[in-house]
């Protein structure tokens, strides 16, 4: 959607990741420009979640380099608490903090971690909640919300930290079908505003609509990086062809 100045925000070079003896990511190279929306597709177990988790320091990597604004994230002295404020992440299982209300969930990071002024954050939170249509639920507890509502709150919680990049890992995968739409719409809205995003999803039509670039991974390797229209009409590799066929009945 947005093809802005080619300022590289995140660069992954020769990334290598193993669990015990099993190689999960093998020589992954990818760069993400500011304002770019990159969608990662691939069969289950190919390493999509692992890739996102590495970018957010939730997994240690065994080789290669990850650079954020040209600063390496594999140095020993990387301050992940600091980096994670710039690289937000939303997970599949909409984990809101169960003992806090919606607004407390949202304020925790900005106020306690970023030490921002509470009133200022509150104002931003209200705007974001309004945008996802949940302003009236700000004093609810997570257990009082539907899956789709929780996932939208989780997105707001991440956004309120003012991240520069957002990582989404199958955020609609555990939702009932009728709630998928409301969450995808929020992400589409972010894309329109020029948010830089790395999205893992199994919703192919959404992927096609939102992506500037499709990355197809199989067995821990990037097989193909394509323009979305090209990927869905003329996939370059046989594996991608095979993957797309599985979604057609």
């Amino acid at each position: 959607m947005h093809k802005e100045a080619n300022e590289v925000l995140l660069e992954i070079k020769g990334l290598f990741k193993k669990y015990d003896d099993m190689t999960v990511l093998d020589d992954v190279n990818l760069s993400i420009n500011k304002g770019e929306v990159v969608v990662i597709l691939g069969p289950s177990g190919c390493g999509k979640s692992t890739l996102l988790r590495c970018l957010n320091g939730l997994e240690k990597i065994q080789g290669g380099d990850i650079r954020y604004r040209n600063k390496s994230l594999v140095d020993k002295d990387v301050n992940w608490q600091e980096i994670r404020q710039h690289i937000g992440m939303v997970f599949q299982n909409y984990e809101l903090f169960s003992h806090m209300t919606v607004i407390e969930n949202i304020l925790l990071g900005p106020v306690k971690v970023q030490k921002r002024d509470k009133n200022e954050v509150m104002e931003q939170a209200n705007q974001l909640l309004d945008r996802v249509g949940l302003l009236d639920r700000k004093d609810s507890y997570p257990r009082q919300l539907s899956g789709g509502q929780k996932q939208r709150i989780a997105i707001v919680r991440a956004l309120c930290m003012n991240p520069e990049i957002m990582l989404f890992d199958e955020v609609t995968a555990s939702l009932d079908p009728e709630m998928v739409r409301e969450v995808l719409d929020v992400i589409l809205g972010l894309a329109k505003q020029g948010m830089t995003m790395l999205i893992v999803t199994h919703e192919l039509s959404f992927a096609r609509a939102v992506a500037d670039k499709i990355v197809f991974i199989d067995k821990g390797k990037i097989c193909e990086i394509s323009d979305p229209d090209e990927f869905f009409t003329h996939p370059k590799t046989e594996r991608a062809q095979h993957f797309l066929n599985k979604f057609q009945y």
Partner: protein, 225 residues
Amino acid sequence: MQNLGINVFLKGRNMIRLFEGLMVTARIALIAIIIGSLLGIVLGVVWTSKSKWIRSVCRIYLEMFRIIPILVWLFIMYFGVTTVLNIDLSGEFVSIIVFTLWGAAEMGDIVRGALESLPKHQIESGKAIGLSFWGLYRYILIPQAVRRMLPGAINLATRMVKTTSLVVLIGVIDVIKVGQQIIETSRIEVPTASFWVYGFLFILYFVICYPLSVLSRRLENKWNG
């Protein structure tokens, strides 16, 4: 005479004696609950260790109190241990020891359960908004663990209060023993004394334990609901 049965409480020092008995019961329960809980928290944290050996020792310790009745523990400690070691311990002291060890075992299990039941995702979400190690404990893990263990801990406290009624069997003059003595001495003058005294004890235990059990149910509904 019938309508004067309640006067049994006003005769002589009966009221004061009941109160003294109550203090003995309360002392045993309170000390055991407080020290037992503190030891239990330490035990519970140690219990979450990855070492199989440490986990087994903790488990065996708990099972010893689950399998062997508390009454038997009281007898072992009061008659057995004091004879073997040739020391003289008061019944009240032995009671406090046994109840504290038991409370620690059960509390340890409750704390272990609470810590282990916290979902891993909550930790990762906390990290994802930039919380530090201590921030995670302070804002996420401790508040959630306390919520999970409080209903169980209150329940344990009421069980301990009720079980103190066994200490009379190793010679401790607790509130129940005092009650029995009052019934004995007033049997001729006040034939209905047992009704009044046991009724009083019933209400006494109820007044202590019921609010606790209501509180634990409320918290459970509020937090798990």
